[in-house]
């Protein structure tokens, strides 16, 4: 994963808790010596998973909770850290934005060769709901997607419910379907 993701985790912990907490988490993840992350540099996926695990251990919450919280924070973080205009262009409402999720990730993926960004597809779109199909080569980030959608809901001031209706793990990766109602 790119440094930006790890930076976002750091930012979330230092803002919602403290710098000391982040240092503690880094130590737990055996990253005590790491000074900081370069946002455009590619880091091993395991490093991010270790961090998520360390956050879970240190804050005494499940990794699912950590991932969901992080997904939500990710929307805020990227908007603040210079990608606000890109997000604005991707839509000014929850359904339009979700429709553009895949394009957005493709755009980002085209310039970051190691990113392997996930794919999104919207089906059965109505005025108040849709099914979001999520495909990722990475396994186990389902809850991050839930957090991401909830974060988008907050961004557009739209109250929404997200439920996981299908979930499949295989060698191809993770395939989930979410039902989003707003």
């Amino acid at each position: 994963m790119y440094g930006l993701v790890n930076q976002a985790i750091e930012d979330m912990i230092t803002h919602q808790f403290s710098v000391a907490k982040w240092e503690e988490i880094k130590k737990t993840a055996c990253l005590g010596d790491m000074a900081g992350f370069e946002n455009m540099q590619s880091y091993p996926d395991n490093l991010t998973y270790d961090l998520i695990g360390a956050v879970s251990k240190t804050l005494d919450i499940t990794t699912e909770q950590v991932l969901e919280a992080f997904g939500e924070y990710w929307v805020l973080y990227t908007a603040e850290k210079g990608y606000g205009d890109m997000l604005k262009m991707a839509g000014d409402s929850l359904p339009i934005f979700m429709n553009n999720l895949d394009t957005l990730h493709s755009i980002v993926g085209s310039m970051m060769p190691n990113l392997r960004p996930p794919s999104f597809q919207c089906t059965e779109i109505t005025n108040h709901s849709l099914k979001l199909h999520y495909h990722s080569k990475r396994i186990g980030l389902t809850n991050m997607v839930i957090g991401l959608i909830k974060g988008l809901g907050k961004r557009f001031g739209t109250v929404c419910e997200v439920s996981l209706i299908e979930s499949k793990k295989s060698e191809q990766g993770q395939e989930d379907v979410f039902f989003v109602k707003w």
């Binding site: 890109m86 262009m89 394009t103 310039m111």
Partner: protein
Amino acid sequence: MQQPIPKEFLLQVFPFYFAFDERLSFVHGGHSFSKLVENVSIGTSIFDFLELQRPQIPAISIHNIIENQRSIFVFRLLSSKIDLKGQIVYSEVDNLFFFLGSPAVKEANELIKNRLTLNDFALHDNTMEFLFILQAYQNQLNMRLADKNKELEYKQHEIEAQNEELKQQREEILSINERLEELVVKRTEELHKTIDNLYVQNQNLEQFSYIVSHNIRSPIARIMGLLQLFDYQNINNSFNIQVLQYIDECANNLNNIIADLSEIISIRKNLEKNKEYVALQANAESILESLKSEIIQTNAKITIESKGIDTIFSIKAYLQSILYNLVSNALKYKSSLRTPQITIVFQQVKGNLEIIVRDNGIGIDLENISEYQIFGLYKRVHNHVEGKGLGLYLVKTQVEALNGKIELTSTLGEGTTFTVTLPI
């Protein structure tokens, strides 16, 4: 056989397209194009809403456009100031020129200002990728800049702290310097005092060596002279008895001198003798007792007056010696013309004890005799009166040892008054 270009196809693939005819009049355009160019109607000259940026050709004409079909065309839209970049294709069937392209911008913000979103771009369009790359690098630079700024700020704080420390140290040094200067002034003063003291001591020492060489030698010379007169041939010569009597007198005299000198040395050495409360009246009476024979012999009248003070905390032996010498001097230098009258007064004046000894003796010619001659060692004012000249020097030494002073007033032929002032 050429087919007309389907409008629906164009709308999907080139949402920023526009078509114009050979008169350079607008015919139709894509929905994204319409967002950027408002209120354009069919038949309007394209130069009403845009100007050509590239290629740089002398004048735009159909001929020039056909000639430059391999060129990239850049049009600036007059209302939105956005450049559209693309190519121009001529369709014979439609008899129309088609501009196919999309915005050439460097910041997403330019698009947002014109209400363009991701959905206004064809999926194959790389504009968004390009903008994203620019944005990502911009972000990276900004982050590095922020880091550098933080570093600089930290350094600035460090420098400020160091400056503050330096300032404090400088102030400390200044204050130490000031204190040093004060100390130097104080020490210099002390040094001057010591030098003055040494000067006085030196004078005293000189005087001492003078006494030793002169006053001790003179009785010894006298003894030696007398011994030469001694009749060794005739031991039983009655003259010898006379000589021996004189020698005895000289030896006694010498002994007294040596005793007095040791007394003076001891006063100088022991400035802190034991002090005690001395009853002034009783003390004076005991001294008069010890001078009883002289008093009877001279028929002197002596009175003692105490005014407001009975005792003093002082060195008793010194007080006795001072009073003894002053009274004995008064008896010694009596006038042969009248009965000696001596008054002793003890009085308190401004926190001091004054001891006054007043007589009606022969007096001293103060105009011709200096104080040095009166109080100096072995100085004698009156050569016709018996005295070894040590008494007043002893008195002065003792008074000074008690931090006091001694003064005198006198009128020749009428009498003398000594005033000793001692701190209580």
